[in-house]
């Protein structure tokens, strides 16, 4: 603990990790704005009756989230804003991604677009894409034309 603090800025929060760990973890785990990657990253799972698309969007207000679907393409867009009224020089750390983002995802052919629903829980967006019931192949009877 420093005794003489003159000329030192108030910085009582000291990260435990070492810089190497930080670099490593930033490569391994910082999801989101990583160079060359699209934001937000999405996962899709397939269930018997639906596909479920999820995207991690912490800190987004649901009212700022825009979902549209047109021509088989789902578009999600929004903005991540930083804490309001805090000038940059007050930041000791700034790791959380910010800014406008937009993502377009092609939907599988076999979904019912008009029955799609979405929910936003604990910073995770979940879009339910109901699958169209499998159409049974229809047998066409061939009539013997010579008869």
């Amino acid at each position: 603990m420093a005794i003489f603090r003159w000329g030192h800025r108030w910085d009582p929060l000291q990260d435990l990790e070492r810089e190497v760990d930080r670099l490593l973890s930033s490569v391994l785990s910082f999801q989101g704005i990583r160079f060359g990657r699209q934001y937000p990253p999405v996962n899709v799972i397939q269930l018997e009756l639906e596909y479920v698309l999820t995207a991690e969007l912490p800190g987004i207000r649901p009212e700022d989230l825009e979902l549209t679907v047109a021509n088989g393409v789902l578009t999600i867009k929004g903005e991540r804003v930083g804490p309001e009224g805090i000038p940059d020089e007050r930041f000791r750390r700034q790791e959380r991604p910010r800014g406008n983002w937009r993502r377009s995802i092609s939907l599988p052919d076999s979904i019912e677009e008009d029955k799609m629903t979405a929910e936003f829980v604990n910073g995770v967006l979940k879009v339910h894409l109901p699958r169209t019931p499998v159409v049974r192949p229809r047998q066409i009877k061939v009539v013997d034309g010579n008869a």
Binding site: M1, W10, P12, L13, Q14, D15, L16, E17, R22, S25, S26, S29, F30, Q31, G32, R37, Q38, P41, V42, N43, V44, I45, Q46, L47, E48, Y51, V52, E56, L57, P58, G59, I60, R61, P62, L65, L67, V69, G82, P83, I86, R90, F91, R92, R93, Q94, E95, R96, P97, E113, D114, K115, M116, T117, A118, E119, F120, V121, N122, G123, V124
Partner: protein, 137 residues
């Protein structure tokens, strides 16, 4: 298509001051969440992105001078689910910080809103400067 956003109200999170930091037990990935720290007139504010962490699955501890946040995320998929596209992995979140005496440890408060943890670290009241008499030999 309809959107059914859930707007949970920011919930207060109890800050415990005893017990060991919770170790991640399951064989699930643990991520270091990205954070922001900024200074206000009252002290410091820490923001951490914890998507998927519910208020009751977040543990925030101050022990001695160490602040630890641990957010559990349930990564189990519904039965019969098949992953057809994966761009991110789901895991717990863990990160620790050292607090100095300049933070009022007793009055740390926190809330979780839409997957973002906000920890308020008030500045401790500074004591009066004490004069140290210097004896002349």
């Amino acid at each position: 298509m309809s959107e059914t956003p859930q707007a949970p109200t920011p919930s207060a999170i109890a800050v415990t001051t005893s017990g060991a930091a919770p170790p991640p037990t399951e064989a699930q990935v643990v991520f270091t969440p990205p954070i922001d720290i900024f200074e206000t007139t009252a002290g410091l504010v820490l923001l951490a992105d914890l998507p998927g962490v519910a208020p009751d699955s977040l543990e925030l501890q101050v022990q001695d001078n160490k602040l630890t946040l641990f957010g559990r995320v349930d990564a189990t998929l519904p039965e019969g689910a098949q992953v057809i596209h994966q761009e991110y992995r789901v895991g717990h979140f863990l990160r620790s910080f050292i607090l100095s005496d300049e933070v009022d440890h007793e009055n740390i408060s926190a809330k979780l809103n839409h997957g973002v943890l906000e920890v308020i670290l008030p500045r401790a009241q500074q004591g009066e400067p004490r004069r140290i008499p210097v004896a002349i030999e």
